[in-house]
Symmetry: C2
Subunit: 339 residues, 2 copies
């Protein structure tokens, strides 16, 4: 980050017509964005675009989800028809929605709003070997970087992560365990809803994937290939792309969090572009937030994915920058300062 | 609330294309608004209007704030010029701003956006006797009810509380202690920023106001008159007015919270219209939220007032209703349900 812009933003926060520190966490966020942009005030982070990276998972065969795999493709259709929660929230906060097929098993129609970037028809089962080849993971990273670049070229000034993939909380847990060193039992959640026995089974599946693949966290692309998903690799690229362009990226829940760990393992400075839109009720997500030191903007026990939680945080992020830009200083407004 | 609409909303949440419960707290909020409106889905809570009730406080003479009293009027001017944080946040979320002078000590100019409803030039010092007469408190309640009615007549479908008044965290603490039965030391905060000694003094001032006035929580108008502020009484009326019109009212921080206790003491059913926009870092506010059982939408250590925290919660509230209205059901979207 740009130290001069950081200093100017902190100074401006002190001179604004409000008690010092009264905007709490949002003061820090506005300072972060000034440092990222290298100017104070930074540009408003709008318009914003959410990219929903969709993929399927070979590990689904291990019975880790109560939902059939075809729901991934059905939900992509739902997104494109404007019928999902992510569409409602995007509409509420004025964000554009794109869907990127990086690995859906089914054939998808060629329609506006869907970017066809299919790398494979789902990953392989990570309990039997690597989920992807290293080349596939690298390809997915590139897709994510390119989607970020294209959305920014189109005029967007804030990117928002979205994801869809039945069973994708399982590779998320494996990635989080791999990158944070925590035990799978600590970071594996109930996803879209499984009971105690099924949760225990899911923990064991995550443990097996990590044992079979013997991942090395010093090799983040290798970790992604071994136990991740195509959407995780693409999301890691999307985060790296945003950071390289000095554009803020609002992270959704546990899938984005797992992907963020991979991105930061590749380029730790990308953290300066990251804003945690919300805290999901998945335990692995809290582990990520703690590990990387991000404070979520919204904490309402959502566990949907799609980008829904990140979109809820978006107006808070935008408000923090708008305040830094627009609020009068004590001098300008003729307001008396405190004793 | 309307039981049929509540049931329809809960049922629709279950049929929407998402895992059951995946929208967390926002599912409850959407159900609450359906019950309030008596229809499912309820109308979108927009457009929204924030009313900033402004007043001064005789208890300021006890040295409870580091800010001079004239800052109340100066900040009103700042609101009207669009230079305050509340203006930036209102602009971000598309809300209209009105300022209601119910008790500013200074003369204020007649300008658009300022509703002149001055009842007194500030309250009397509550450590020396009642802050207001019972008639003044009743008049302020009426002003608040009428402002709510007028804003809804103008087409608004969501109201947002705002407040301005140097020293107004002191009467807030007194009201909260009176209505919750907690000790002043538990519910008196540092407001816009005081050190340990000044905080201890502020607690003693609150304690003295409550001792001198011997308030009876069974007489809410009497409590408001004894230790409240004109803006607190008006805000209590504003909340009652919204509830009577079955329009949701998003509450800001500790001043709105204290006023809400008074409103609920008058009409407990008004709670169904109330949404806690955020949790302020003032300890008295957490006491209110716990006492009335509201879960705040945003929790980012803000302590500014003006309506700023409530405005941050507004898009989350709106998003919850938009999702209930717009999201496709499993049947409609042709999405397979879980096992």
């Amino acid at each position: 980050p740009d130290e001069q812009a950081l200093g100017q933003a902190r100074d401006r926060q002190r001179r604004m017509t409000k008690p010092e520190g009264a905007l709490g966490v949002l003061e820090d966020i506005s300072v972060q964005l000034a440092g990222l942009a290298g100017q104070c005030p930074p540009p408003l982070p709008e318009p914003a675009a959410v990219a929903i990276f969709a993929g399927d998972h070979g590990v689904h065969a291990q019975g880790v989800s109560p939902w059939p795999q075809e729901v991934t493709a059905q939900m992509v259709t739902n997104f494109l028809n404007g019928g999902a929660v992510v569409n409602a929230f995007a509409s509420q906060v004025g964000a554009e929605v794109s869907v990127v097929d990086v690995g859906v098993s089914a054939d998808l129609p060629s329609v506006p709003g869907l970017l066809p970037r299919k790398i494979a028809r789902g990953t392989a089962d990570s309990t039997q070997g690597a989920a992807m080849t290293r080349a596939q993971a690298g390809h997915a990273l590139e897709v994510g970087i390119e989607v970020a670049r294209d959305l920014v070229s189109a005029g967007n000034r804030c990117l928002v992560t979205g994801d869809m993939g039945i069973s994708n909380t399982t590779p998320s847990a494996a990635l989080i365990a791999a990158f944070t060193g925590r035990d799978p039992a600590e970071v594996t959640g109930r996803g879209t809803g499984v009971d105690d026995a099924a949760h225990q089974h899911k923990v064991e599946v995550v443990r097996r994937a990590l044992t079979v693949n013997r991942v090395d966290r010093g090799d983040p692309v290798g970790v992604l290939a071994a136990v991740g998903g195509l959407e995780h690799a693409a999301l890691a690229g999307f985060i790296l792309g945003a950071a390289a362009l000095r554009i803020p990226v609002v992270l959704d829940g546990v899938i984005a969090g797992a992907s963020c760990l991979a991105a930061l393992a590749i380029a730790p400075n990308a953290l300066h572009a990251c804003v945690a839109g919300h805290r999901s009720s998945e335990p692995g997500h809290s582990a990520v937030l703690e590990h990387v030191g991000l404070r979520p903007l919204v904490d309402l026990e959502l566990r949907l994915g799609e980008g829904s939680g990140a979109l809820l945080g978006l107006p808070l992020l935008q408000g923090s920058v708008r305040a830094l830009r627009d609020v009068a200083t004590f001098d300008d407004a003729g307001v008396t300062e405190r004793d």
